[in-house]
Structure formats: structure tokens, C-alpha cells
Chain length 292, copies 3
């Protein structure tokens, strides 16, 4: 694995290897990298958790991390992403985590730079490290994904998570169903009646209502959305024994999820963030190991 | 000591222990922490010196420090401080330094997170690490605070320093008097005649005129303020032998203090900044040691 | 060498020593510094490559680097550069790299602070580390600068590179000629006919058209500039055997240089960036060694 840009590039075997290595890191394993690598995290969109999670993972792997301030870089002078990456290659960077608003930004990079590229989220496209941490969290919970019923609820069309997850979860044997308002289903097939699927779901994966992406979403008030597509306290009570709640965060309390449920017994939301560090350690180590 | 949010929480014994440990660090002591801790500095308001001082202290203690860019974080997406801190807890952060414009921001955090919280300044409320470095600087100078006359001059009502300091200095035996325009005294009792107290003061603690906080302060021109409440060259000449000048900085030259006095013999302004590193090392080490 | 603010301060011997030490670093040498130094990079203007290059150099020298966010510092509260530097001195910083829009910003610092100052670019004035990496790249290519014909093309009047380079290159024995539109020649003597000098040049040093500095440059369309003063594919074909192309970057593709030429065989543009790290290591190590 030279880069990680999309879940589509990963075989089931590769995904399984990452899950096992993430489990090692969770259980206290340390880096087996032989060389002293240098990375940078190029985030052209705001993010706390993905960026901080990578920063933590990189430090736990004892890598050098160069600070990069996108709001203060030469991209302000009109430099392309390609030219920025070539500069960082020349300076001696080994790997970059990039988050960028442009879908498939990595297409202009892969094969044209020696720097390893890890996609930290592209537009409404891919977010493979989020997918892998979601998968790890389910796998850790149930020991398998085979036949697990996973319900993804929310803004499917605009969600990186939904796109990255739906296919990979299916390939691992899970049964994925999508629930969303018709306005937000995009190219996907979605169910519109959330209540119908509550009792049969093993995993309830709630998505963020992305206010900042579709400003025209006056189609729902927060209260209306919560009643129709939010995980309310009433809906949580109907979930089956052992079923869990997930959310990629940041979450809108009392919009897609009732505030009381964020830290409830079923919730794996904080666990997902913890797992993100282990999964990102596994991915980064795997990619850098390929350079040794 | 699990957190440090207000001087009120510290006993005289705890303050004394911090002063002694800061003295050790000044004299070249190194960290006695056994584990490898990770911190982050969450500054939601501009600050050079407090942030840089903590960054230096943390590195001298050989801690991992994750970069946090408040202008680029998920708080932009409407995330609450509580949720941001819970994310950082999940990611594995041990302690946070937080500066926030909201008074008592820490009340929604203490007792609800495993992350240790160090208050780096809250609104017009507390700034305990500044208080402790002020106290250390006086203690280093005179060997005691007992019976020292400390005159705090300036915008008392809006100053974190005045609030944090006044009570703690008194508990340590110092005689604190406040001087300020009537408009700025807030809930405090203040003297209005600066000249009356010059000769009797051991410590002249000048406060910053906070232009950015009260824009309506057309009540004084800079020159008028300097004449009435600034430390002028004439006033400095009347100070008694061995008396010192302090200022938390950043200072407005020729407003609260004459430009020539910033680096004069009596000035401990640069010394305060140096001491800030030792004091913050002592505080951070003490808090992290409580987790071992 | 206590500071590096201008090429004018460096003798030919000092330049040669830096070139040789940079070559050592290129060949894998490591730092010979005995103490544990702390630096910070104060960039008050956007820059990716200079800042990232220094960050890399500092880490390769195993220095501590404190993060400094100019957009978030006390300079926002009106603090002068001098006062900021004095604070950083008090906090314990050993050396600062500073980029600032004000020409000769360093004049208010040198001799007044114990912090070593490395000029990372001042206004339209100096950019000595860029000059040194340019010189290193030519020296590495030809083994000498003696009698090499170096043609600098572009916005001479507004270019830090041109000013820093022209004098130093001449002192090292090179023959420097400047080519630019009459509007942009400033105090320099320039040629206006680019084609006249193509065949005789050993080094074609193209400068960035600084759109962000002179907004009134509607005097040329991009296409017109490219035809008159850009390095086109046709001009490249006329260059002599072994001649090389340089550019300090970021470059405007198809303005000062044809896009196809950026990574062509003659281009040393990426090499310059790589060399920047070695040269900055040499400079920083030399300056810090002077403190031991």
C-alpha cells in the first residue's frame, strides 16, 4: 500500500490487516518503522478531530511532523496543490495527510510524486480513514461484520462517510441500509421511514447535518429533522440488545442525535475517536513500511 | 492538584510548593515525570507570551505537544468547548491549557472530563499562572511576601491579573492596594491618587490598558492616562530603594508605563516572562504527577 | 557569524564555508551542536517553502521549535516587533527566523537582543538564505561561480532575490546580467531584450511576477509578459549545452516560465528547494555554534 486515497483501492485482506494492526496499537504495540520519517498534515478545510487524531498517531509512531498552515501558505499566492506537494517532496517530506474541498484532489498527485498521500477527506467524496475507524469499531464490538445490519442515517448525498462506508461495509459482509430525506439521497437508494428499521439494526450510524455545506436546507427546521430522522430517546429505547450508536462527529446535539444519547451506554462515539488514533497509526505505519 | 483554574483553589501551602519547584527549575532541575504525556494548548484568544511560555515549559518537561488551531477547528462548525474537550480526551490528551473569552469556561469541564485543565486566562476572570509568576517574581526578589506593599495600577475591573492577584497576595501576607480611575474600579475599592502611594510601595504592578476590551474608553487620551495613572519617569524617581516595577505585558509604551522604564534597573518585566516558564513547568509537572 | 540579515555582511570566505557545510549535510552529515537549542519561525507574511524549509532544517538539526502564529499573536494588540522579540528572548529562545514585510526590520533588533536573528525575507530588501541556496545550486552544478554568466529575468525592482543575489554572485566571480521591463528595473541597470542573452547564459534565473505586490501591473497581460520576458519552450531550445534554469518559486506557470519547463532536464527548481534545507542547516548550525 503506497497511498490511501479511497476505500475502493483496499482489498478485504488489506482491510483485515489494518484492523489487526490497529488492535495491536490499542493493546500497546509500538512502531516497527526503522527509519526516521517526516510528515505534514495539509488541512485546507477546518477539522479538529481528524487533524488532531493524525497528529497524535504520528507522534505515537515517533515521526517528525512539520506544521503546515493552509491559511498562510503559498496556495494564497495561487500555487496549485500539485506544485505545493512537489515542493514538500523536494524538501524531504515522506508522507502527507491531505484534506481538501475538491473531490478526488488526489488524482493530480498519485503517480506523479514520491510523497505518500493519505486522504484525510476530499469534498463530498472519500474519507477512508474515517471508514476504517468505523469498521474497526464495529469489528471490535462484534468480532465480525458478517451479517451485521448497519443503518446509516442522514445527509447521504453530501457525506464522505456514507460514500466511503457503504461499499466497504458490504464487501465485509455487513447489510447496509441508508435512511434519509428524499432531498438528500443523491445517487443512492434510501429508505424514508426511520422507525421501520430501528429494531432490526445492530449499528445505528448517524451522520452530521452539514449546515455549512447546504445553506439552502431551510427545508427542515432542526426540530423537524430531529423528529423525522434524528436518534431520539424514544427511538433508542426500541433498539435491540447489544446494538450500538455511532457518529463520525462533530455532532449537532438534538438535531441528528438527542443530547442525552451522546454519552449513553450504547454510544461508541468517543470510542470511535479513540480508535481513530490506532487505525491511523496502522495505516501510516503500513504505508511508510512500504518505503523501507 | 488535579486542575488549576483559579487562585482561590490553592492553599498557601500549595502556592509555596509551586514557588519552590519553580525555583528548582530556574536552577536547572529537570522533569521527574515517569510517563510520556501529551498536551495541547487551546487558545481561543490571541496571546504570544502566555502561549509561547507554556509551549516552552512543556518542551522543557519533554512532553508531547499537539498543535491546535482555534481559528481552524470544529468550533467553527458550532461545536461546544465541552464536546471539543471530550474529543481530545478520547484521542488521548492528558492535559489542556485553555484560554477562552468566556468567564469561568472551566465550570462546564471540571469533574466531567479526565483531561487536566489549566486555565490560561478566562474572560475578565482568572489568570492563575500569571498570578503565580507574579508571586514568584516578588518572592524571588524579597524572599517573602509578608508585609510587602504591592500597588496594582490600572484597569482593575477588566483585568484578569488584578482579580487573580489581589486575593492571593493578601493571603500570602502582602498589603495590596489598588489604584485606578473611578470608571474602571468595578466591584473593587480603589484609590484615585496614584502619587500618594508611590513612595510607600515595594512593588508597582502596572496593568495593561486594554484598548481591545473597552472601545468606549475615549474617556482618556493616552497622554491624559499616562499623566494620571501611568508610571512616568518622575514617579519612578520617587520610588523607594529596592522597590520594583512589574507589568504582565504586552505593555503600551508611554501609556501605562514610560517607554524608558520598560528595561530600567527596577523593571522586572522581562524577568516575569522568564519566570513564567519556570512557574508553568512547576504547575504542569505537579498536575501531571498527580496522574501517576 | 552571530546573525544573518544580509548578504552584504558575508565575506567570500564565510559564503564558501557555508557552501561546504551545506554539501556535508547533503551527503548525510549530522549536527555537531552540543547544546539543546530552541528556535521559532516568525513569519509575518505567507510562505510555504521558506518556512517549511527552515522547519525541516531545524528538525534535522534536532532543535526544539516553538510554534508561532503571527495571525494570532500579541502584535495584533499593537506590540512592536522589538517587544515581541524581547519577550521571546526572556522565554529562552536562542534564535529566530523572521520574515517581515518591512524593509530592514532587523535594524531595530541587532545589537539589542541576545536572540540570534536569521532574516527569512524583508520587504523588497534581503533574502539571504535564498541567495545562498541559489549560490549553492550553481556551485554544485559547475564547481565554481567564476566567469559563469547568470541572467536574472523579471521584476528586479520588487525582488528580494535579485537584490540579495546580484552583489554576492558578482563577488564570487560570476557575470550577472539583469533583464526586465523598463517599468520594473528600479535602481538597477537592466537589459530589455531577453532573446539577445539566451545563448550566452549559463544560468537562467527567472523571477516570480509578484501579482500580490503591484496590483497596478495591468501594464502586461500574462500572455504578453510570457512572450517578452518569459522562458518559453522556444527560448529554452536556444540555451547552451549544460546551461540550467532556476526559479525561487512559487512560480506562475506560463507567465515567467512555460509550464513544460518546470520539471525539464535543465530545470534545477526542485533541486533548489532540496538544497534550501541543507543551506539552512549550515547557516543555523553556524550561528548557534557561535553561542557555545
Amino acid at each position: 500500500m503506497e497511498n490511501l486515497v479511497s476505500m475502493k483501492d483496499l482489498s478485504v485482506e488489506q482491510i483485515t490487516a489494518i484492523l489487526k494492526r490497529a488492535e495491536d496499537f490499542r493493546d500497546g504495540a509500538t512502531s516497527t518503522l526503522k527509519n526516521n520519517y517526516t510528515m505534514a498534515n495539509l488541512f485546507f478545510e477546518p477539522s479538529t478531530r481528524t487533524k488532531m487524531s493524525f497528529e497524535m498517531a504520528e507522534r505515537k509512531l515517533q515521526l517528525n511532523v512539520l506544521p503546515f498552515d493552509s491559511g498562510f501558505s503559498s496556495t494564497l499566492k495561487g500555487e496549485t496543490l500539485y506544485d505545493t506537494v512537489k515542493v514538500l517532496e523536494a524538501i524531504g517530506i515522506d508522507a502527507l495527510v491531505i484534506r481538501h474541498e475538491q473531490n478526488n484532489f488526489f488524482e493530480e498527485l498519485i503517480g506523479k510524486t514520491k510523497v505518500a498521500i493519505i486522504n484525510g477527506g476530499d469534498g463530498t467524496g472519500n474519507h477512508p480513514t474515517q471508514s476504517l475507524l468505523d469498521i474497526f469499531t464495529i469489528w471490535e464490538e462484534f468480532g465480525t461484520l458478517q451479517d451485521k445490519v448497519i443503518t446509516i442515517v442522514g445527509d447521504i448525498a453530501h457525506s464522505r462517510v456514507a460514500r466511503s462506508n457503504a461499499d466497504a461495509l458490504s464487501r465485509l459482509g455487513a447489510k447496509v441500509q441508508l435512511v434519509c430525506p428524499t432531498e438528500w439521497q443523491g445517487e443512492f437508494e434510501c429508505l424514508q421511514d426511520f422507525d421501520e428499521v430501528i429494531e432490526s439494526s445492530d449499528v445505528m450510524m448517524m451522520l452530521r447535518v452539514q449546515h455549512e455545506r447546504h445553506k439552502e436546507n431551510g427545508i427542515f427546521s432542526k426540530e423537524d429533522y430531529h423528529q423525522a430522522f434524528g436518534l431520539t430517546v424514544e427511538r433508542e429505547r426500541k433498539m435491540k440488545d447489544g446494538a450500538i450508536i455511532m457518529h463520525p462527529a462533530p455532532f449537532n446535539r438534538d438535531v441528528e442525535i438527542a443530547s442525552e444519547l451522546v454519552e449513553c451506554d450504547r454510544s461508541r462515539i468517543m470510542k470511535q475517536m479513540e480508535n481513530g488514533v490506532y487505525v491511523r497509526m496502522a495505516i501510516t505505519e503500513t504505508i511508510l513500511k512500504g518505503r523501507e
